[in-house]
Symmetry: C2
Subunit: 518 residues, 2 copies
């Protein structure tokens, strides 16, 4: 009854949100929004039904509108309607996938979907397995802890200091997600023992430098135990060269994890043609993170950690076998339901069976939907990049692509005209462009019709100068920071060329308005 009424209120919201002229983000100070939401009111007695729908409508109006094709702000977009049904189903079932008997359907669906994804990733079918986690960061955290405890089993009981002399060290690219740093920090490895490997100009980890850095670490008495490669970096959407990295990890006997939270669906579903660099070297990586809540449209959150060699690796590394919960001693067990108690392979306890919503999506749409969705996003990305390259300079500024998009994320600048005529390019130019991008982006977002983001990355160039101000990372490489640029991740299947034109027009318009007196 309550749910039926809710479905009316929410359907109305969704229909309204998808319309072209709908506000995506209301740029109001938190204090005003707090008042609108009546956040000081914790009633002694319930407010009743009509008031609660008023609350729900206010929450919807105060939320960020992810249903509109103008939501280009983050690596996810509108949730699929059947995914929302999945969320509701999870809420209704209230099943907890920590032990099998508390969530038989959720557990079986999770193990089946994870095994299927792991097989698509090229893991051997006998051991291909995985688990969901509440986000890619937690998946990455768990796999780093697992790799640590597998390499140094004594850590589990004796602690990290028992292997202090081994100096465990982690490798990841400069463009990798910060969750790798956080995981290493949490694990007690320390941020100083996370080696950030420089990338090439397109944001891909340089394998030659990785090899040198690994060798340097070994020569310095450190023990590299974990290399994280990224399939779809957070900002540029680049894919590290996995084949070459796998060779190196073989040589140094290091766990190779691929953080494909964002980009791995391109490898698993879209085939070689659209994004040929997004390819997993068959059976040569130890683990993979994939977030169907990003490119595939599952509602937040739906993240899998896929393991090449099965879940027992995690159970051994992280499990405690708490007897009060996991009844390994069940006198009546006649089947594998004990090994289906998934919770002990994690650092958590209660687990939401998030795989169910992805399973429903897969059933309702079929594999081809994922393929089409990814290919559409890729085509839109290529089209936007083309538009940026081909759009003529005009009275307000000039368009520049940061790099050719490797996947579905497009990064570019709009250099205001006053900056172009202000003199030659250099540090001052970069600083001004950086500020201009951020101010233009904020102004576009304040209009409420589009929501986009800016970002920056560090890159490297050769430096043979002996100038001390060159901050050398390895040999003659010098790190420099790009001025902030617009980063547009394509994802929503409703995005069309009209959306892309609106993006560029809005940036020009905001620039004109911002700098009309310049």
């Amino acid at each position: 009854m309550l749910l039926a009424e809710a479905s009316e209120v929410l359907s109305e919201y969704v229909q309204h949100s998808q319309q072209q002229d709908t506000t995506i983000f209301r740029d109001k100070p938190p204090e005003i929004l707090r008042q609108e939401l009546d956040l000081s009111l914790f009633p002694e007695h319930g407010v009743g039904k009509s008031e609660i729908w008023h609350d729900v409508r206010t929450i919807c109006a105060t939320a960020t509108n992810t249903w509109n094709s103008g939501f280009l702000y983050k690596l996810y977009a509108a949730p699929t309607p059947i995914g929302v049904v999945g969320e509701t189903l999870l809420g209704v079932l209230n099943n907890n996938a920590h032990v099998f008997h508390a969530s038989p359907a959720g557990t079986l669906i999770e193990t089946a979907v994870a095994a299927k994804l792991a097989q698509l990733a090229g893991f051997p079918s006998q051991t291909a397995a995985g688990l969901t986690f509440p986000g890619g960061s937690y998946a990455n955290l768990h796999v780093l802890m697992t790799a640590r405890n597998e390499r140094f089993p004594e850590i589990k009981s004796a602690g990290l200091c028992a292997v202090a002399s081994a100096k465990p060290v982690v490798f990841t690219s400069c463009h990798a997600h910060y969750s790798i740093d956080k995981a290493a920090m949490a694990a007690g490895i320390g941020l100083d023992s996370v080696v950030h490997v420089p990338t090439d100009q397109s944001g891909c980890m340089d394998p030659v430098i990785l090899r040198r850095m690994l060798q340097d670490a070994v020569d310095n008495g450190q023990t590299p135990f974990f290399v994280n490669a990224t399939m779809g970096t957070t900002v540029l959407g680049a894919c590290d060269p996995l084949d070459a990295i796998a060779d190196i990890c073989d040589e140094f006997k290091v766990w190779l994890h691929v953080d494909g939270s964002w980009g791995s669906p391109l490898a698993l579903f879209s085939g070689d043609t659209m994004t040929p660099t997004f390819k997993i070297p068959q059976g040569r990586i130890n683990s993979l993170t994939i977030n169907p809540h990003k490119l595939l449209g599952a509602p937040l959150q739906c993240s899998f950690l896929l393991m090449r060699d099965g879940l027992n690796v995690m159970r051994r590394a992280l499990g405690l076998g708490a007897g009060y919960l996991f009844h390994a001693d069940n006198p009546d067990a006649t089947d594998d339901s004990g090994s289906l108690d998934l919770g002990d392979a994690t650092l958590g306890c209660g687990r939401r069976p998030d795989a169910v919503k992805f399973w429903l999506m897969w059933r309702y749409y079929g594999t081809q939907y994922f393929v089409d969705r990814l290919n559409h996003a890729r085509r839109m990305a290529l089209q936007l990049a083309d538009m940026v390259v081909q759009r003529d300079p005009n009275a307000y500024g000039q368009w520049r692509l940061v790099s050719k998009p490797q996947s579905t994320c497009v990064c570019f600048w709009f250099v205001p005209q006053w900056l172009l005529v202000s003199g030659r390019e250099g540090p001052d130019f970069d600083e001004s462009l950086d500020l201009a991008t951020r101010k233009i982006c904020n102004r576009v977002n304040a209009s409420g019709q589009l929501l986009m983001d800016y970002a920056s990355v560090d890159l490297f160039k050769s430096c043979s100068s002996s100038d001390d101000s060159c901050q050398k990372t390895i040999d003659n490489l010098v790190k420099y920071t790009l001025p902030a640029f617009f980063r547009i991740p394509l994802n929503n299947p409703d995005v069309t060329k009209t959306t892309l034109v609106a993006v560029l027009n809005s940036i020009e318009k905001a620039t004109r308005e911002l700098y009309k007196d310049k």
Copy 2:
């Protein structure tokens, strides 16, 4: 449209599930359930609507029924209908509470609800704050990491081995949740450096022994930095003596965390009268975990970590300030929205704004609902304990209470008659009772009409014997393990005396059937 149809299918399921004779758990092998769920079928093209509602119905039929008052299996029960609406709302909004602009409503609701809970916990209103986490284990993990990095700030960069000589050590009771052990293991502290403090006979940490163990650790050159006390232990539902523990933590200058994942609502909402030992010493604990998805009926998951001294403690300890995401340098920021980017205070990135569903519950039902719900659960627990004590021994066995319930969890044995007449009590008796409890419980569950669990705990007794087989924990305390007993957590507001009678009758019936030839 899809959601409207779903609400019909799911409402039908809920109505059916609440009926008295409905199956709660289908005791079938995973292989059979896998076939029913058609888990080998990942279709190339979508299966269409009618098939998807068939799938949803099959999932419901294969799930564990948490709506029925006979679901007494875990520390949660039926979700509230408005909570389910909250899940649906979260799915529809698809807002991500890592940064404010991606989830303005979710962020503001989370900060407001967490602040309110923290104030109810007696934290000073200027700093009382908190965050949601995907479960109490992750809340505990985060606070342990925070306390570690606050006590030893050099760990963040230099790693744990930089403070190896300090020998950091964690204290928690023998009855605490395993997530404390897992968190310490993850943090690199190691399981050997988790000191498990013995409890008294009712499962409460013994503060005299805690003090001795802390002193011993200091004398041994270790550095105690974290004491976890439990408000509502997982098995017995006991509350550690927080006032005495707070005194000791003051003396040793140790972070005092209270894991109230399950039991803290009794302190925050139900007042002193029903569970007088559940009381938080005003402003004397550093942090508190509370899971509204347990005693308060929010759908899984809804967990808060509440911080006495504000969120900046966590930002300082765990934050990295990733610039691409958290725009601390926003040139147009005129308000506090930067500090409302909640993600950087956690080890995660994307975050589901779970507080929204609890806020809707609070608004719809009012505070009094929580009070009434808790008081009802407590009354049912007292009533079940009374029934166990007063129920006459009969031809099938004898009832024994493990200990007087301190909160809403009742633990007891039913000792089969054949065991009573088999001779005097001792190790053999205990072993037989342990096996009998587990077999009886499985048989009750196999009936499908009730779902309950068994558990065991370690307790301690004085031992002045010099026998070497006495495994001494501290001085003359000897640990022993209770034979498995039935553990019935009360929670569902629909539980009545009829449910309780059914529990006891079912146990007698299962015993009779199991041992009819004995």
